[in-house]
């Protein structure tokens, strides 16, 4: 059942509406049963979650007799952003993932954020699906703040991702949806995968298997689940960043999610006018590339790759 969980009037004959699709087993009462929330679309340029939500909703609806709990799907927390290919909230120049937990006394965006938190609060698990941005391609992974690693890692391992990154805490991240929900006791996992403005069907299918597996493990889903892979788990010190030193166009010569040796050639930064190699980019350590630049134009500082290997293999 699709329900509007937050809304605000726009200037001319339209409302901003945040919708939730609740899927339950029609043959049993869902009163008092467990609840999982699948949320996405906080950033309007991240679309991988759209396919995950659509396909998951369709599959669960068709197989709802195998449900013993509630699955709430929120496909678009920032519908105006998705509709206008805008990462933030249009008109406000705001990153929606920096205004949680929101407040009913605040601006329109803060009121919406507060309503979203209120609706998700109390769920047994929440999965917040992101898809990097238009610049970088990410292997399916779960990112966990170190302060909540103890209780989130077991759930993250169920999600059929390739990688779990436990990162250090930063004050600025306290205004994210995931932090705000974990802070009030609603366990929330952040998934990053794919690239902005695209749907990577292979990754979406992989995550859907993981979501079904997690739902099964917590007693919401009784249907079949495909095989689930064992993720690599790492901390910040295992991750090495490769940033461009030059400005130009970056042309990679390696594939995503491959093992490389220290000093291996990752790609070149070229001067677009002359073709001259401005920077011969090499791996600072041995490891596996889990982030690779997708958008070719780079400045000094632009992130080119992240390598899982880090200090240990430097």
């Amino acid at each position: 059942m699709v329900k509007t969980i937050a809304q605000a009037g726009l200037a001319v004959n339209e409302k901003l509406v945040i919708r939730r699709n609740r899927i339950t087993n029609p043959n049993i009462s869902s009163s008092g049963s467990k609840r999982a929330c699948i949320v996405t679309g906080t950033h309007g340029d991240e679309l991988e979650g759209q396919f995950v939500c659509a396909k998951l909703a369709d599959y669960l609806h068709e197989n709802s007799s195998a449900l013993s709990g509630i699955v709430d799907i929120y496909p678009a927390l920032n519908p105006l952003g998705i509709d206008s290919i805008t990462r933030g909230i249009p008109m406000f120049d705001l990153d929606m993932n920096r205004i949680f937990p929101g407040t009913s006394e605040g601006t329109m965006a803060e009121c919406i954020a507060a309503d979203i938190i209120s609706d998700i609060k109390g769920a047994d698990i929440c999965i917040d699906i992101h898809s990097s941005n238009i610049y970088l391609k990410e292997i399916p992974q779960v990112r966990i703040n170190e302060i909540s690693a103890d209780y989130l890692v077991p759930y993250a391992k169920m999600l059929n991702v390739d990688y779990i990154w436990i990162h250090s805490s930063a004050t600025v991240l306290e205004s994210t949806l995931a932090y705000s929900l974990n802070d009030i006791g609603t366990k929330t996992l952040v998934v990053e995968m794919g690239v902005g403005m695209r749907i990577t069907k292979e990754y979406c299918d992989q995550l859907i298997i993981g979501i079904l597996n997690l739902l099964k493990n917590i007693g919401i889903w009784n249907g079949p689940v495909g095989p689930v892979r064992e993720p690599i788990l790492s901390f910040d010190h295992d991750v090495e960043f490769v940033n461009s030193s030059a400005a130009g166009i970056f042309v990679p010569c390696v594939d995503h999610w491959v093992d490389i040796e220290k000093g291996a050639h990752i790609g070149d930064v070229l001067d677009p006018a002359t073709g001259r190699v401005e920077e011969y980019v090499t791996a600072p350590c041995a490891g596996r590339i889990f982030t690779l630049r997708e958008f070719p134009i780079v400045y000094g500082g632009s992130l080119i790759a992240r390598i899982l290997g880090g200090e240990r293999n430097a």
Partner: protein, 308 residues
Amino acid sequence: MRKCTLYSIKSPYREDLDVLGYRFGNGEKSMCIVGALRGNEIQQMFVCSQIIKKLRRLEADGKIAADHEIMVIPCVNYYSMNIGKRFWTMDNTDINRMFPGYNLGETTQRIADGLFEQIQGYKFGIQFASFYQQGDFLSHVKLMHTGFTNPEKMKDFGLPYAFIRDPRPYDTTTLNYNWQIWETNAFSYFLNSTDDIDERSAEDAVDNVIRFMVRQGIIKGRETGGYLTELINEREVIQIHSNAAGIYRPKVNAGERFSKGDILCEILDPMEGEIISQVKAPCDGIVFFRYSRPLEFENSVLFKLIPR
């Protein structure tokens, strides 16, 4: 006056971005003034240009006190300014959310790092900042309350109002916050406009900054004018939200006094023209901020009021 390039980055398609600084006087690093970090902060850049013009004359007249150096950086992000964009040209990140910066990080982290390295160690810092909502403000000075800078110092600008803000998590990556963490007495100066130039307001801002420096002994001269500043905690400001969406018709201006029950604005049905809502003042007070766009959404912050 010494003009120098403080930080420079290359672009594949444009001339280098050179962040320029203008230094006056010699000796102790006494005052640093930063203008536009964002591409739409035109008034902020303009005010800095007028401060530079003023300081050049004061320096020629021997009015910069001995053993004091002043540095002014009128515009950091002119790449975005030249193409009419608010945030960084390529990835839309905000330099004022990247401090203290990181020299091995992303482009805007590197710009923040390169800038911050140059502006650290000053005794006082002023950033001409802008607000994310479009509207008319009373010009004011604001202090992010970290415990380092004494709020009483804000009175030396001689503005009618100065505000104290308790930092929120997202404030911790701003220039103002990090300046204080690195022990610069930092103030954010909010002008009444951002995208447009208001020359009268700019003249006032120049006078207020010069007054502040005279009171610190950085510039030689006699104190003149200025208001007896009222310090206000931001928590005391009353935000007035719209209860309907539509065409916004304000009835009061920024700085105007009002009484409880006065109509602050009307909201009209955008199709039929009828008044669908009137927003009334909940108390006596002064309009500190007034929203300025013709269309408004439900729950938009239309006014910020100082209760009297």
